[in-house]
């Protein structure tokens, strides 16, 4: 991780354990002003712990956390001026909507007139105007989520931490609110860290994505970079890619695998003898047998074992060589029925060599 003048949050060599079991191992990344970072990982990957360490709600074992060039490890959470949105929102049940949003401002000794005005602005921002006097248990899930967002944004935090803020909502509402959260955060130019286990959510909300697995930071990249070039098998598996093919690399720069022989895409960093290829499912086309002789294009031949219509595409699984490979094929021309042998030209951009790990 390069140190940069624009970085406002710098995490280095962060380690944490719970009752002797390591939760986070040697985490390091940096974040720029106004960026939204997604911590993406399956449950138990340590993403919530990382968020709580940054918040100051947990104590790290070793490593540093610096904010605007200042070590914040010994600053108690209430003096960091970071906002946090909790998984179940943690709205104060004994306060109404307005009082919840006002709490952080009261802690800053905001003058009453300004406080009322700021709360109204926040209610407007999240689209809850007129609901200020509602009790928390009178709100729907989506409304609670908005109150929680408004409450954490009202004191104008230097950094907003969001712990699976959409986890308990249904799919449609989630998709809608993801976009809304991003536009609100961008509008206010808030720097934020967003924890989620849902990659679609991460891709649509984040500027940067950090994939965590078993307490190790696997990859730190832009959403597109992550999707296009997953660094290793763990990341590929987590993103839902299943077409992994083992192969080996010869001295002339060609890959040999059960599917055939093809030139190494991009530049070889290391001369491996054993490699793993990932074939992303999109962009492949059906071709006639032996229709292409271009040695740079990988062709796959196999028998269709399943064929699911998915609206914009067909998800087709082939039995090719010893592997089951899945591709999303265009609806025109429609792929033949199960049991038919077909040939595919794989999109060269969708072939990635993974790091061994």
């Amino acid at each position: 991780m390069s140190e940069n003048a624009d970085d406002i949050l710098l995490v280095k060599n962060l380690c944490n354990s719970f009752q002797g079991t390591p939760i986070l191992r040697d985490i390091g990344f940096s974040l720029r002003q106004c960026e939204i970072l997604c911590l993406l990982g399956p449950s138990g990957s340590g993403k919530t712990t990382l968020l709580r360490l940054i918040a100051g709600l947990e104590q790290e074992d070793s490593g540093t956390i610096a904010f605007r060039g200042r070590d914040i490890r010994h600053i108690p959470p209430h003096k960091r001026n970071f906002g946090m949105m909790f998984q179940e929102y943690a709205l104060f049940p004994h306060k109404n909507v307005r009082q919840n949003i006002a709490f952080g401002l009261e802690m800053q000794h905001c003058p009453p007139a300004e406080l009322l005005q700021r709360v109204e602005v926040m209610l407007h921002l999240v689209g809850l105007q007129g609901l200020g006097d509602r009790r928390i248990d009178e709100l729907s899930g989506g409304e609670r989520q908005r109150v929680a967002l408004a409450r954490s944004l009202a004191p104008e935090p230097q950094l907003l931490l969001l712990d699976e803020p959409l986890g308990s909502l249904d799919r449609t509402l989630r998709d809608h609110l993801t976009g809304e959260i991003r536009s609100i955060l961008k509008k206010l130019a808030v720097t934020a860290i967003f924890v989620t286990h849902d990659q679609a959510e991460a891709f649509s909300v984040a500027d940067k994505v950090a994939v965590l697995h078993n307490g190790v930071l696997q990859q730190f990249d832009s959403p597109e970079g992550l999707y296009r070039y997953p660094q290793n098998q763990t990341v590929a598996a987590f993103l839902g890619f299943t077409n992994l093919v083992d192969g080996s690399l010869d001295e002339e720069g060609f890959i040999h695998c059960l599917l055939g022989r093809l030139p190494f895409p991009g530049k070889a960093k290391h001369p491996w003898t054993k490699i793993t290829l990932l074939l992303r499912p999109e962009g492949s086309k059906m071709i006639l047998p032996a229709a292409t002789t271009d040695p740079a294009i990988l062709t796959v031949a196999g028998i269709i074992t399943s064929r699911l219509f998915q609206g914009g595409s067909y998800r087709v699984t082939l039995q090719a060589g010893g592997d089951a490979l899945t591709f999303d094929l265009p609806i025109d021309p429609p792929p033949p029925e199960v049991g038919v042998r077909i040939h595919l030209a794989v999109n060269p951009a969708a072939v990635i060599v993974l790091d061994q790990c």
Binding site: L57, P76, H78, Q87
Partner: protein, 563 residues
């Protein structure tokens, strides 16, 4: 009429005969003492300052006990809610002890520890060669306040502690993230959220202390009289039945008011904001401040709950010249100058037989009432629910007094019948049994019954094959509670037992009321035996629960969502 409704008439008839009828007689007795309308006798109640003083004293001693208990128990609640420590389960088991201890045993135990003849005084006198006991608590307010704290400490700790542990830890974290210091977080978030639990616990403590009878009578001595004690004195010692009836009326009215308040309050508490898991948030004490806080509270619990009972056991085997079993042996003799017509040990047999009979009756009636209440829907349920809980709001002394003025003549004459004791105990235990069985019966999802019905089970089979196995644990708990309530019942028993049918608490009270080392020693011995019987019942229950808990668990998890 449905069979379930028809069955429900059984507990209703029982309540009608043995609860409402005696209460009616009390009302009649106070307004129509000689069969004539003469409220003049009642005028004493308004005009004489004595009775206002009694009511005032009853109120402020209850208030003082409540405040003391809250002050001492809230730190304990915090410790149990926030920290994990070695032996927590053991301490939690220890905290159930006061619930099952008969008041008479508690009074005797505190006497054994801190009374003039108690262990601490004896040791201090021997160690420093003193002429008289240095700690003089006998017949003082402080003595029975201490016993009230003993009784209610664990109640407050349990109610507030479990509520505290259940408060979502994220609420505190959210306040911290919004800039609140730990102190601000406590006063602005945690404390307001705890208030329903604190209020509910405080009201319960107040109710218990307001109706306190045994400990005030034994530890307070003749100088102090709560309403309960005064009813007893007017009825048993002065034989002023109209006055006793009038005081009972006051007692009933105040109790109903308090219970109504409590019911209203507990309905308001926001249960929905409990977190799903409460155990996960407890931490080990790490700083020296945290360690000393936990240590101090555990030490206090030990001193408050364990030392009196140890003192009781030790005192029961220490005579003037060292260890002796003389007191136990004396329980088996029937002396000429004995307080009893028969050997005192017969009281043990009496108590156990009464308790077993009352247990069977209370469980039978409680089960029937619960089945009805669980199946009924709508507004009427709340009404019947309240009717069944009414005996809880009536003090045992009032009840016992009502029995001797109503059930000793036609139409119901049970004056010399053993059944009177059993009926009184059943009535006292019955609401507790319903409170044990009804919640678990209500937690059974309706779909479970429907599934069984569609699989071909008749209503009776549904009950026997589905409902009964699920609630068997609750029935067992209810049964053990009924047994131990009957074993320890003192207030009503002082009225309805006869010399030859004395129960253990009554026998202990008689021993304590007589002078002499031998009588005192026998009181200690009898109390120790009662303690052993009660603890054995609960130990057996715990053993059975361990064996049964395995298959019951997965189901109860699902059922949490239903209620």
């Amino acid at each position: 009429m449905k069979p379930r409704t028809l069955l429900f008439s059984l507990p209703l008839v029982f309540l009608l005969l043995f609860y409402f009828y005696p209460l009616l007689r009390i009302v009649l007795q106070s307004f129509l003492p000689d069969g004539l309308w003469s409220p003049e006798k009642l005028e004493n109640l308004w005009t004489s300052s004595t009775y206002w003083r009694i009511l005032w004293f009853t109120t402020w001693q209850a208030a003082l006990s409540t405040i003391l208990t809250l002050l001492l128990a809230l730190p304990g609640a915090y410790v149990f809610a926030r920290y994990r420590f070695f032996g927590k389960n053991l301490f939690q088991a220890l905290l159930t002890l006061p619930f099952v201890l008969p008041t008479v045993v508690t009074a005797a135990a505190f006497g054994a520890l801190l009374g003039a003849n108690g262990l601490v005084n004896t040791w201090l006198m021997r160690a420093f060669d003193l002429a008289g006991p240095p700690i003089r608590l006998d017949q003082t307010l402080a003595f029975f306040l201490l016993a009230h704290v003993f009784y209610n400490y664990s109640l407050v700790l349990r109610i507030v502690g479990s509520y505290w542990a259940g408060l979502d830890a994220d609420l505190r974290a959210a306040a911290r993230m919004l800039g609140a210091s730990p102190g601000q977080t406590f006063f602005r978030i945690t404390l307001p959220l705890l208030m329903p639990a604190v209020g509910s616990a405080a009201l319960l403590v107040f109710i218990f202390c307001f109706t306190s009878f045994g400990v005030v009578l034994i530890l307070g001595g003749p100088g102090f009289a709560t309403l309960e004690v005064e009813i007893y004195r007017q009825a048993v010692q002065l034989y002023n039945l109209p006055m006793a009836a009038a005081l009972s009326l006051v007692q009933i009215a105040v109790n109903f008011l308090l219970m109504w308040l409590h019911a209203k309050l507990s309905r308001k508490s926001p249960v929905a904001f409990y977190a799903d898991t409460s155990s996960g948030t407890a931490i080990r004490p790490s700083t020296s401040w945290q360690k000393s806080l936990v240590g101090a509270n555990l030490l206090f619990i030990f001193l408050l709950l364990v030392t009196p009972l140890l003192a009781l056991a030790v005192r029961s085997i220490s005579g003037e010249d060292g260890p002796t079993l003389a007191y136990y042996q004396a329980l088996f003799r029937s002396d000429e100058d004995s307080l009893f017509f028969i050997e005192p040990i017969a009281a043990v047999a009496n108590s156990i037989s009464f308790a077993l009979a009352a247990m069977v009756a209370a469980v039978a009636l409680g089960l029937i009432a619960s089945v009805f209440l669980a199946s009924a829907r709508g507004r009427s349920t709340a009404f019947w629910d309240a009717v069944i809980m009414l005996p809880l709001a009536t003090s045992a002394v009032t009840l016992g007094f009502g029995y001797i003025i109503s059930l000793n003549r036609p139409p119901i004459n049970l004056r010399d019948s053993l059944a009177l004791v059993i009926i009184a105990h059943t009535l006292v235990a019955f609401p507790f049994v319903v409170r044990c069985i009804l919640p678990s019966l209500r937690q059974i999802p309706q779909t479970l019954r429907e599934a069984a019905t569609l699989l071909g089970a008749s209503p009776l089979q549904v009950f026997r094959r589905v409902e009964l196995p699920i609630i068997s644990r609750a029935i067992l708990v209810g049964a053990v509670f009924a047994f131990s309530i009957s074993m320890g019942e003192f207030g009503a028993s002082t009225f309805v037992t006869r010399p030859h049918t004395a129960t253990m608490p009554v026998a202990i009270f008689r021993f304590l009321g007589q002078p002499g080392e031998m009588n005192y020693g026998q009181a200690m011995a009898m109390s120790t035996l009662l303690l052993l019987v009660t603890c054995t019942a609960f130990w057996l229950l715990a053993r059975l629960e361990v064996r049964r808990s395995a298959p019951a668990k997965p189901l109860s998890k699902d059922m949490d969502h239903i209620s």
